[in-house]
């Protein structure tokens, strides 16, 4: 009888481990996120640690196999950044975070009661690499809004991506502990920077045609005057 109970308990434990979604703690903890403002359009926006609760948003991505984003494992920022959504090996974990009142830090927007965040599509006990993308909240609250903003002329703000983490084993809310995504050393993610950017306005074809027409009119006007 005791053995049967043990087997049932173990089966439940193993089943829970296999079927449960993986859990991580999605916060920057003691690692500070900073900004690098080189744009007049951003005015006196602080350079250094991010400031203000809710002023910056963050999204968590993971990959079971990839250890780079398009061949690079280093952090990037600004308009020319090497962003994770351009590499099909990476998956959005379904988790967003926002800057907290403590300078440089962020916390998950929808954490579980134990402080963990569920990594959508990653099994508990499975290993994966993680990448975090951050941006100022004026650009939108979702990754798709950020992508739209980055493709819209005249948009300016901050955006950046962390380096690729080492492998973290997702917790299961039971025996396997939920790892912090950020920490002082690998395999965890470390502090990274959001770089300022401006999507330069390029004249539309209609505007170009009008300008050409105006130029031609001026030339004609000069000839007639001569």
């Amino acid at each position: 009888m005791k053995k049967n109970l043990t087997i049932i308990a173990l089966a439940c434990l193993v089943t829970a481990s296999v079927q449960a979604q993986g859990l991580v703690v999605f916060s920057s903890s003691t690692q500070n996120i900073s900004t690098n403002n080189s744009l007049s359009q951003l005015g006196a926006t602080a350079v250094g640690k991010t400031l203000g609760a809710g002023n910056y948003n963050y999204a968590l991505f993971y990959s079971v196999a990839a250890t780079t984003v398009n061949g690079s494992a280093t952090a990037s920022s600004g308009l020319a950044g090497n962003y994770v959504w351009t590499d099909s090996n990476w998956t959005f974990a379904g988790d967003y975070a926002a800057s907290s009142a403590t300078a440089g830090r962020f916390v998950a927007l929808s954490a579980n009661s134990d402080g963990s965040s569920t990594v959508s599509g990653l099994g508990a006990g499975a290993g994966a690499q993680f990448v975090v993308v951050g941006w100022n909240s004026a650009l939108g609250s979702t990754i798709s809004a950020l992508q739209t903003a980055l493709a819209t002329q005249g948009t300016f703000g901050f955006v950046g991506e962390s380096a690729v983490s080492g492998q973290l084993i997702a917790g299961n809310g039971a025996l396997i502990p939920n790892p912090n995504t950020f920490g002082g050393t690998a395999p965890q993610l470390q502090a990274f920077q959001l770089g300022s950017f401006l999507v330069a306005p390029t004249p539309e074809p209609g505007t170009m045609a009008l300008a050409a027409l105006g130029g031609a009119s001026l030339l004609l006007f000069r000839r007639r005057n001569k």
Binding site: S100, A111, P177, P179, G184
Partner: protein, 251 residues
């Protein structure tokens, strides 16, 4: 696990108080244990009763077990088993209590890590060695002059993350004294498999007094295996399916 432990060889019998009425020895054995903390997850058990530097009394708050306000441990995560999951904390000398919640977004009351309790530390700082200092824990006086005292670790039904209350290493039953008389038969022991700083599952044993000579079977209890060996400052999970039991150790 890279666990270097040095227990002071000649523990000082600092205080020897003999009660003339009860004729019972009450001796506090003072010592220290050094434990290196490799990067990543480490299975840690406080091997000594810590002393509050202000009051001089036993106080096993993690702030007395680990120097959290030194800043050297900032960012490390602490996982304390609650019976079905972990309560997670972050060591952060910038928090008023020295300890933040899992997200480190607010200060929380530091957890108590008494001897006999195992925890995980996710260490993010290279080259750390923690020195546990204090007295050897006792729950009761010795029954005779050659037994200084006893310790008792309660083993309730279900999962517990526990450790020896005494700073000794060795076979889980033959040296540490986990009951091997059949009272825990059918229960499972889980030893964390920590590889490159990550918890890659557990090695599982079954307590079975019928498996001779060790008293332990493999996960399926289909074959006898050597008993697990636990280092000083290390812990293990037990899933007690047999019934509430006490793990008594003598020193």
């Amino acid at each position: 696990m890279k666990l270097k432990t040095s227990l002071i060889a000649a523990a000082t019998l600092a205080v020897g108080v003999i009660s003339s009425q009860a004729q019972v020895y009450s001796q506090n054995i003072v010592g220290y244990v050094n434990q290196t903390l490799p990067l990543g997850f480490v299975n840690v058990a406080n091997p000594l009763d810590a002393v509050d530097p202000t009051t001089g009394l036993v106080n096993n708050s993690i702030t007395n077990v680990i120097p959290v306000f030194s800043g050297n441990y900032d960012g490390d995560a602490i996982y304390v088993w609650t019976g079905h999951t972990y309560a997670q904390y972050t060591i952060d000398s910038g928090q008023s209590t020295g300890v933040g919640n899992a997200a480190d977004s607010a200060a929380v009351t530091p957890p108590n890590i008494a001897p006999g309790t195992a925890i995980f530390i996710d260490n993010t700082v290279a080259g750390l060695t923690n020195t546990f200092t204090g007295t050897i824990h006792k729950d009761g006086a010795g029954a005779s002059t050659n037994v200084v005292g006893t310790t008792t670790n309660a083993l309730p039904l279900g999962f517990s993350f526990i450790a020896s209350k005494l700073p000794v290493a060795g076979g889980i039953s033959s040296v540490l004294g986990l009951p091997a008389d059949g009272s825990l038969d059918g229960s499972a022991i889980y030893i964390p498999n920590i590889v490159s700083g990550a918890v890659h599952g557990f090695t599982q044993y079954t307590v079975d007094s019928g498996q001779t000579p060790s008293g332990f079977g493999n996960a399926a209890d289909s074959a006898e295996v050597a008993e697990p060996v636990i280092p000083v400052g290390g812990g293990f999970f037990i899933d007690n399916t047999a019934g509430a039991e006490n793990w008594v150790q003598n020193l």
